[in-house]
């Protein structure tokens, strides 16, 4: 047992360094204040949403529905996140050689890895669920059993989505390891599973809304659809010890059973996932020459497209943007008739006239929430020293990273733009403004990402997921992105309400972000060399 505790301690102390930023100067700001501000910001935002929701539900005494929605939402997010994390967290670990050579049972290694995954999701879920639980407690003033049930729910709710995503991760790794280009197949399988989950969630929404008309309460519906959330809500509304014991036992048994079953196949799949299928060909190797820039772009793009968690994390938003543009343009007429039926005060001309602004918002949303560069330095890992030995200025290396990220981002955004332009026939000024935004906003996003990654690199990750999903750099970039999206939406809506012309609103944003881009260029030039050289591997 001591061995397991030591392993857990070592693994967690290494992986949970997200709030333990290694900087030369251990400043109060970067060590304590910045992580604290981020945590409080997230909790405040979700607490705010919970409070808005419960105010609406309080008059009809359905306060618990707020918790139902939060718990269900978090479970779906955990499942979606888990799907593209699990392959990398379970099967692409760099500490395999060390762990497998230790005198511990192989099943223990799997247990530690799933436990790490669970603890990270538990911390994430707590950020969202704790404010909701607090808001509920403030408004309802519940009995002590509510707190007991909520603590257990907090602990157990991530288990089912994590187990499901681990199973999917197993399937993805098992099948992709049979192909030569296993990383490509892993990415394809992962994206397919993600699309399937999103499709099912989307269908479920319709299923729930249909049932809502028939069922007595939303609580009944959720109980039927998803037991863990249903049981939690039932514990809140009518506490029973039997339900509590059953709720606890079911989760513990599921967890133990999964470790037992997956543990039996883990090492076969794991060694398969690590195996590199080599086709020994007698083909003469090709010596070719490229320019420095072209070679650097090719290297970065290859790294992106061959790192499944990287491509799924960044590429997924772009795929959704494209789908939104295609579906929006193809199904616009049916969408508009639905909106008009439900909101007779609108007319189709008003809706059509606002589409350039919506498109601008969609481009900002996609650009600011897709940060490729925020992981590009960290993903270099130990090979970062190689970059340092090249006879190239650091700023040039950094610019080529930005250029690669832009190429990856701008192409799908432009494709989406074209679909929308063809369908809606914008005026030329709107087209030009949206096209400028399609270059400028990703540029701002990627510059922010690289500046943050240079400042907060994570060079000692044991797998790519730690870098892409669990590093300080990706977290800060995401929240800056969210802040910028909120800025665009709030200011855009305020200006639209004050009858500022839509083209003028877009122009003002473009001027603002062009200035931001200029400032970021200055900042990058000022800090690049120092931060680049300060990174120690």
């Amino acid at each position: 047992m001591n061995k397991i505790f030591s392993l857990i301690k070592v693994s967690l102390s290494h992986d949970m360094t997200i709030l333990n930023i290694k900087t030369k100067k251990k400043s109060f700001f970067s060590k304590i204040l910045l992580p604290l501000i981020i945590l409080l910001y997230i909790m405040f935002v979700f607490g705010f949403y919970a409070e808005r929701l419960i105010r609406v539900l309080k008059p009809v005494h359905l306060e618990f529905v707020m918790l139902t929605l939060f718990a269900l939402g978090m479970s779906i997010i955990t499942l979606i996140e888990g799907i593209y994390k699990s392959s990398s967290l379970l099967f692409n670990c760099k500490d395999d050689n060390l762990l497998l050579s230790l005198p511990i049972k192989r099943g223990t290694v799997l247990f530690i890895r799933i436990l790490k995954f669970y603890i990270f999701e538990l911390l994430y879920n707590s950020l969202f669920l704790l404010p909701a639980i607090g808001v509920y407690a403030y408004f309802v003033n519940p009995a002590w059993t509510f707190y007991l049930s909520s603590v257990l729910a907090l602990l157990f709710l991530p288990i089912v989505p994590i187990i499901l995503s681990c199973v999917i991760g197993f399937i993805v790794s098992y099948f992709s390891s049979r192909f030569k280009g296993k990383n490509v197949f892993e990415t394809i399988f992962t994206v397919l599973f993600l699309l399937l989950v999103i499709f099912i969630s989307y269908r479920m929404e319709g299923f729930v809304s249909n049932l809502a008309q028939k069922a007595m309460s939303l609580n009944d519906i959720i109980t039927r659809v998803y037991y863990p959330v249903g049981a939690y809500i039932s514990l809140i509304t009518s506490f029973k010890w039997t339900t509590l014991v059953l709720f606890t036992l079911i989760h513990l048994v599921i967890f133990a059973l999964t470790i037992f079953i997956l543990g039996r196949m883990y090492f076969r799949v794991n060694s398969g996932a690590k195996r590199v299928l080599i086709k020994h060909n007698n083909k003469k190797y090709l010596i070719k020459k490229s320019s420095q820039g072209k070679a650097l772009i090719k290297k970065e793009a290859k790294k992106f497209f061959l790192t499944p968690v990287f491509i799924t994390n960044a590429g997924f938003g772009l795929v959704l943007f494209l789908i939104a543009c295609v579906v929006g343009s193809l199904r616009f007429d049916s969408l508009i008739s639905t909106i008009l039926k439900e909101n007779p005060e609108f007319n189709s001309n008003i809706i059509k006239s606002i589409i350039p602004l919506i498109m601008f918002g969609l481009v900002s949303f996609t650009a600011f929430l897709t940060s490729i560069t925020s992981s590009m330095i960290s993903l270099e890992g130990k090979s970062f020293n190689l970059l340092k030995t090249f006879p190239i200025k650091p700023i040039k290396i950094i610019y080529y990273k930005i250029v690669t990220a832009l190429l990856i981002m701008v192409i799908p955004i432009l494709l989406g733009d074209i679909f929308i332009f063809i369908k809606f026939k914008f005026d030329i000024i709107s087209i030009v403004l949206i096209l400028i935004a399609s270059f400028l906003l990703p540029l701002v996003s990627e510059m922010i990402g690289i500046i943050i990654n240079l400042k907060y690199p994570k060079m000692d990750a044991t797998n790519d997921t730690e870098v892409v999903k669990q590093s300080m750099s990706s977290l800060v970039s995401t929240f800056i992105g969210l802040g910028l999206v909120a800025l665009v939406i709030v200011l855009g809506v305020i200006m639209a309400i004050h009858k500022v012309s839509y083209n003028l609103i877009m122009l003002l944003f473009i001027i603002f972000f062009a200035l931001v881009a200029g400032l970021l260029v200055l900042l990058l030039h000022k800090t690049c060399d120092k931060n680049f050289n300060d990174i120690m591997v």
Binding site: V276, I278, I287, K289, K299, T307, F390
Partner: protein, 234 residues
């Protein structure tokens, strides 16, 4: 020539290099020896521009690595002790990539890649992904990449670790050829026999300080390098 002048490097409170000074002239093979943690890798990484130094100066052919890093790096090549190559690439793509970074002409890279791939008997593996390679094979790829741009200064950290006996012999041959062309080879090693036979000059570092430097003959006298080293370390 490599000139190392009063170089000091600290990691927090720990002094990794303490006022280190010595020169490496053209046309010599220079051995840099010391026990684990003595500061060998720190100095090597400072010479090749991976680490900044806190004070002092490192000049490569008269140019400061701090003020003119790009110019210095153009004439240098570095082979680390544990080559961290881009695992997602095929070996030939990696070598081509490194050549692109040094702007090597097609003719030069064709000549050098063909020559060294044949010498290290790795021609047949150049189309394979690096992730499938053993440590020794990766070391060979790192060596080919380093030699492909005809560097004037070759810096190596424990170059013989992981190489098979034939490759060790070949590397030594390549080193001897290079010094005949007036090039510099500076490397760290724990294999004192190799250093003794191969190198004309040597520096011994202990706790970040150079405790002995000079020609191999002067330093070892009638004793073996191993004996001298152990006496100095004791």
């Amino acid at each position: 020539m490599i000139e190392i002048k009063n170089v000091t490097k600290k990691y927090g409170e720990t002094v990794a290099l303490d006022n280190v000074s010595f020169n490496v002239e053209d046309g010599v093979i220079f051995a840099f020896i010391g026990h684990n943690g003595a500061g060998k890798t720190t100095l090597i990484k400072s010479i090749v521009g991976i680490h900044d130094i806190d004070s002092g100066e490192i000049l490569i052919d008269g140019l400061s690595i701090k003020d003119n890093p790009v110019e210095c790096k153009k004439i240098m090549a570095f082979v680390p002790d544990n080559p961290e190559l881009y695992e997602h690439m095929k070996a030939i793509d990696f070598i081509n990539f490194i050549c692109d970074m040094y702007d090597v002409s097609y003719e030069t890279r064709e000549k050098n890649i063909t020559r060294y791939a044949k010498l290290f008997e790795i021609e047949k593996n150049l189309n394979d992904p690096i992730s499938s390679f053993s440590h020794g094979m990766k070391q060979k790829i790192a060596l080919i990449s380093a030699l492909a741009h005809d560097p004037k200064v070759l810096i190596m950290d424990e170059p013989f670790v992981g190489l098979d006996p034939k490759a060790v012999f070949d590397v030594k041959e390549v080193m001897n050829e290079m010094i005949k062309e007036g090039k510099i080879i500076f490397f760290s090693t724990h294999i004192l026999d190799v250093a003794e036979k191969l190198c004309s000059r040597v520096a011994i570092i202990k706790n970040g300080k150079i405790i002995k430097t000079g020609s191999m003959k002067d330093i070892k006298g009638d004793k073996s390098l191993e004996k001298v080293f152990l006496e100095l370390e004791g």
